[in-house]
């Protein structure tokens, strides 16, 4: 019983980070039909920003977090303006190639500049420990869960309440309609990328204190997050969050209780089985909605 609780707790904080990346991906998929694999690279850059800001510059971890979000969103906006926008009239296949190219470039630039050594950031509150139902949670894990919850809430409020957030939802619900009433797609799309980049950067920074990383984390994270988006249903924000938790739990439980060899297999098979019965994902509506 204790092991199960411990595994669930571990899964909870680890996969909540996938949820942030998945949320960014689903926002971009809603506004523009782009499977933006470069988001994985922004996660990786976020982790390195945390590493260099705290280890080399000596900044506090709490300052590194907003800095990583800023860097992530600037990079995402650059990707959009330089690559995705010129390709906006073309099919998903063409933009997907561009996304893969960006991921390749950023991941290998990181390899050139940061090296292939695994890094781990010294996380705040690591010494603090909480006992929950016979299992333990470190203070940093609680901090991750709280930060993720806060970021998700802020994103939700941003989409629901601010004028630009409303425009973003309008474009993702009905692109033609939104254009007819005079919304500027460029600004809306730019904001979607900035938002997704900030979320990915934050996820990378938060993860940098618990999971050792190297540049190859970029591809691993985005593949998992993209599979979660599809499994949950494209364009569904609560779906992205719940999907991340379900996949994470399935993976951690098989890994911990049966065999780590088949942990990934279980998660993937689960996704396929769900898609067979719900072809638009677990929480996907008939029309995608944010």
């Amino acid at each position: 019983m204790d092991t199960v609780v411990q595994l669930v707790l571990n899964a909870l904080h680890a996969t909540s980070l996938y949820a942030l990346v998945a949320l960014g991906l689903t926002i971009i998929l809603g506004v523009l039909d782009i499977a933006d694999f470069a988001q994985g690279a922004l996660y990786m850059v976020g982790a390195y920003v945390a590493y260099y800001a705290t280890e080399a510059v000596g900044l506090s971890f709490f300052l590194a977090l907003p800095l990583a979000m800023l860097v992530g969103s600037l990079l995402a906006m650059t990707n959009y303006v330089a690559v995705y926008r010129p390709l906006r009239r073309f099919s998903g296949a063409t933009t997907f190639i561009a996304a893969l190219g960006l991921l390749l470039i950023l991941q290998n630039l990181a390899l050139l500049f940061f090296g292939a050594d695994f890094r781990l950031v010294r996380a705040p509150f690591s010494g603090v420990r909480f006992g929950v139902l016979g299992a333990t949670w470190t203070g940093y894990q609680v901090f991750i869960a709280a930060s993720v919850a806060a970021l998700l809430l802020l994103t939700w409020l941003f989409l629901k309440l601010t004028p630009i957030g409303k425009r973003l939802r309008a474009v993702s619900e009905n692109r033609e309609g939104a254009l007819v009433v005079g919304l500027d797609p460029f600004r809306v799309e730019l904001v979607a990328f900035a938002l997704a980049g900030a979320l990915a950067g934050a996820a990378g920074t938060l993860a940098s204190g618990v999971n050792a990383f190297d540049p190859s984390i970029a591809a691993i994270v985005v593949i998992k997050a993209f599979a979660i988006v599809i499994f949950a249903g494209m364009g569904s924000v609560p779906g992205a969050i719940l999907g991340a938790l379900i996949v994470g739990l399935a993976e951690t439980l098989t890994g911990g209780l049966i065999s780590t060899q088949y942990a990934e297999l279980t998660a993937f098979v689960l996704m396929i089985v769900v898609l067979l019965f719900r072809p638009r994902g677990l929480f996907g509506a008939q029309e995608a909605k944010l």
Partner: protein, 337 residues
């Protein structure tokens, strides 16, 4: 198209024949122009990739189905052929078995996966590709897993009493011509299927699946058929690869390799006749030219080339040239008219 077919004029036909003869001559002369072992190795790799991309193009260029797990079917074919020929089967039978095995796996995957649309379909093919790689890695008793399968026999062909074993480690030209023959066959198959009733049904599905369904095309069955054919062709390429490398490891059939095939298809020009030749040639050449750089730097340059090509030529290299030609002709027509 049928109207053009009825009054087929002489000159375009001659033009096409000329191109085919020139292309065939270049392909046959290539191993004597690039006569180093590395050059010939690259040519074999290009020919094998041409087969794979010609099959994949039936899905991507033909039906607009973005399949992202294609190299897994190559892996199934490679292991099937390697294991059977190792167990004593003749090479041509092993090759046939590779096609059947890969097509069968394609059927098992395609039947559920093709119920899905768009990104959902792509992600499922992608995940299936990963699952197949995991299975190849974990079924150690059969595949020897990550240690790799060694001792795969060279291909031996027997024709009317004439027998030849392709010892590909030292002698690559003969095997290159063998793969070239199958590459030509794959291109011919892709071209014929594209112009058939089946190919027109696929392109109707690509245009608007609901509309295709409403005019009486059995869209689901057509897509499954295309998927099975593409998987079978990949199995053939896998068999050719297995008896060329005479060593197999699951690392050769990962999702990264599937991405490479996808990129070759799109960069060459999806849905064009020559795209499946140009894409692999371009990418295999570029990555071998970059091999002198540090690996990380070469990947960066490769990524930049990828993005530049796709931004400048969003319809791929062949698609871009065709469009340019059409625009020039239209321009000249206006001047003359």
């Amino acid at each position: 198209m049928s109207v053009a077919g009825e009054r087929r004029s002489f000159w375009p036909l001659l033009w096409n024949v000329l191109w085919i003869v020139l292309g065939a001559a270049a392909a046959i002369a290539a191993p004597h122009v690039f006569d180093s072992l590395t050059g010939r190795h690259m040519l074999v790799l290009i020919a094998i990739n041409v087969i794979l991309v010609a099959g994949l193009d039936l899905l991507i260029g033909g039906a607009g189905l973005l399949s992202l797990g294609h190299s897994a079917f190559m892996g199934v074919g490679a292991y099937a052929s390697a294991l059977l020929v190792k167990a004593g089967w003749a090479f041509p039978l092993g090759m046939l078995a590779a096609v059947v095995a890969a097509a069968l796996v394609g059927l098992i995957v395609g039947v559920p996966a093709l119920r899905l649309k768009g990104h959902y379909f792509s992600v499922v093919t992608f995940i299936v590709g990963i699952i197949i790689t995991i299975l190849l890695t974990n079924m150690v008793d059969l595949t020897r897993g990550p240690m790799g399968l060694t001792g795969i026999p060279f291909a031996t062909i027997e024709l009317f009493g004439w027998q030849h074993t392709f010892r590909t480690i030292i002698e690559k030209v003969g095997y290159y011509y063998l793969t070239l023959f199958f590459a030509a066959l794959a291109l011919l198959l892709r071209w014929r299927l594209g112009r058939s009733r089946f190919g027109r049904a696929l392109s109707a599905i690509k245009g608007d699946e609901n509309l295709a369904e409403s005019v009486g095309i059995a869209t689901y069955r057509t897509k499954v058929a295309a998927f099975v054919i593409a998987a079978g062709v990949a199995g053939l390429a896998g068999s050719l690869y297995a008896h060329y490398a005479v060593f197999l490891s699951p690392d050769s059939f990962t999702f990264v390799d599937s991405f490479d095939l996808f990129v070759m298809n799109l960069l060459g020009g999806a849905g064009t006749v020559l795209g499946p030749v140009v894409g692999p040639t371009f990418l295999v050449t570029v990555s071998s030219l970059l091999r002198n750089l540090a690996p990380a730097l070469s990947h960066v340059v490769y990524g930049v080339i990828l993005i530049v090509v796709i931004v400048v030529l969003p319809h791929g290299i062949v698609g871009g040239i065709k469009r340019l030609g059409a625009r020039l002709r239209a321009g000249r027509g206006r001047v003359e008219g």
